[in-house]
Symmetry: C2
Subunit: 194 residues, 2 copies
Amino acid sequence: MDKIPKTLRGTARREQLLRSAEKVFGEKGFAAASIAEITRDADTALGTFYIYFTSKEQVFRELVVEMGHLTRSVMSDAVTGAPDRLDAERRGLLAFLRFVADRPSLYRIVEQARFVDPEAYRDYFSSFAAAYRDQLRKAEAAGQIRPGDAEVRAWALMGIAKNLGDRFVLWEEHGDLEAIAEAAFDMIRDGLSP
Amino acid sequence: MDKIPKTLRGTARREQLLRSAEKVFGEKGFAAASIAEITRDADTALGTFYIYFTSKEQVFRELVVEMGHLTRSVMSDAVTGAPDRLDAERRGLLAFLRFVADRPSLYRIVEQARFVDPEAYRDYFSSFAAAYRDQLRKAEAAGQIRPGDAEVRAWALMGIAKNLGDRFVLWEEHGDLEAIAEAAFDMIRDGLSP
DNA sequence: GTCGAACATGAATGAGTATTCATGTCCTAT
DNA sequence: ATAGGACATGAATACTCATTCATGTTCGAC
């Protein structure tokens, strides 16, 4: 994250470029996106990009990191105040689906990081998963959930949220997210067993 | 899927190129992979590629389609003979993790299709999900699982498998896949509720 | 009102590589 | 043994960008 601007004007330009990069990367994908299109969208000259960023990869990484902060913040807010872990799961799942609906570009950028910047991708999910796992362990100790492998469960639960986000938010006119979250939560809470 | 060879020699070359493409796309990703590298790996000349394929995109799509057939076949084999749906879930999950361990390249290719060839990506998962959903409905009718939204459940369960595959197979020296599948299955069967 | 640091510009540079094509070689049918 | 379709070759073509840079412009401090 170099090239920090030193004036208000600079700060605004940089932010403008970041938002355009989010938009273009989200729409076209990293490879098909061009710096020229990003600067065009930001109403600025090609060369200006390199005043604020060192490379195409760097803006991308910065967006992934930004997404990490944002996701953690959104999820943390959503879950705060839940009476117990099960309710936190319900709230968290719905909040995630709504977040994907709100910022589909940022969500698609994270998924591209798998190939564009594998380290950033791993960091994003690993740090999220570590916190998730700890929450599950605490809930288990408090008797709020059945004992079980918290690491595996954390990744399984993240997988549910990701895949529902793909299918019911990115691929479809947003249906009833509450109903979808509720249906998934029903399985998370009680399982498939009759 | 054009350019079908008319001789044994041609068929072998095409297959050879397909395997090299799988390898190179899997290792480097679609964008970073070059036709030159694919033909080099296949011990053949650059131009030979275009005898068997019309474009870089086309081989890629063909690999995604191949992966679709393979996955369905592997999962179908794994689940055949299961006494009930819950057992089918257990077997299917383990089989999927082992499949990812066996063919990590093909698995990574499918994930790239999300951006390289979105239609192929959707087809892959949608056709899989449709079959999955039908199985769940049948099991529900037979009283083998609790009633619930089969479409949402199918996508949630696929999400679990995908994400565990990422974390415990692609990102890590393969640990005990049986233990991981069992831990996840425990939650799928009985949920988190104490 | 002027000086300098910060910022802006877009044409030019340079590297990479998908695709084509003119020229062979192989192999089988006759 | 030879014609002709199938296959093989890799240099040449034709783009597409990422990145640089020489030349302005802005704006606040003094």
